[in-house]
Amino acid sequence: MDNDTALIDAYCQRGDQTAFAELVSRYRERVFRLTVSILGPGCAGEAEEVTQDVFVAVSRALTSFRGDAQFSSWIYRIAFNQAVNLKNHVRFRATHVGEQALAEAASSGPGPLAQLETARHRAGVMQCVESLPEIYQAAVRLYYWTGDSIEEIAELLGVPENTVKSYLHRARGLLYEMLEERGLRNA
């Protein structure tokens, strides 16, 4: 069974659990990357729960999937909506300089104070990213953090590649202004 449609048919018509397991295996990593890019660093546990919610929802709603759109676009849309809903309902812990960063800063490496400053600087940048619109945040994290290509991001967000480039360009512009306001740009 090469394509998604064959797997979907096998699951919907014959209740073939191995077909659904194959769909999970195909999409779990990408769905997880998308959800964690929306929820942000430090929320891997929540992103994994959302990823599970997505597959539970898909298993229940698969019979109503009409195939008008690609299965991948459908599942990524569900993932995006569920992650954004969770983010809107829960106040996530603010990014801060964690114990690990402080421990690293206090270690015997050259210039612990400089390391602490670097950690604070990174936290500042991450806070600015948190202030961006959801879709920009997702694009920025997918590109810079999880290392996805423009093509992959376009598929995950369900937009053309040029739109992803535009998101990244505008996000960098907004970040430039925010970082300048905070005096972090040249740090």
Binding site: F32, P41, Q52, V56, A57, R60, V125, R172, G173
Partner: protein
């Protein structure tokens, strides 16, 4: 924004986000399988249902023992006993269906 500033922010972002990316836990599929499995009855509930079915059968036999034989014995008491036994089973089935649909994430 000029190209130079774009590159500067690009470098800042690469540096700030250079940490390790999170991975799914190794037992992700096992956890998902547990969540997708329909909830089973507890042992107590299972025994209560068996007891109820047994009592329903015996009560039906006892209640109809003096009724004159009007037809084959299966119509006399087995059908009402089966109906009595099936009522709680259908109730539990409906309850589980409702529970299942309520758990679908919106």
């Amino acid at each position: 924004m000029p190209e130079r500033e774009q590159e500067q922010i690009d470098r800042l972002l690469r540096d700030a986000m250079s940490g390790p990316t999170p991975k799914l836990s190794p037992d992700f599929e096992a956890q998902l399988a547990r969540r997708m499995r329909p909830p089973g009855l507890t042992t107590g509930a299972r025994w209560a249902l068996i007891l109820y079915a047994a009592i329903a059968v015996f009560v039906t036999i006892w209640a109809t023992k003096d009724v004159p034989q009007l037809g084959p014995w299966i119509e006399q008491w087995a059908v009402p006993a089966a109906a009595l036994a099936l009522v709680p089973l259908s109730f539990v089935w409906t309850l589980r269906r409702l529970e299942r649909s309520a758990r679908i994430p919106r």
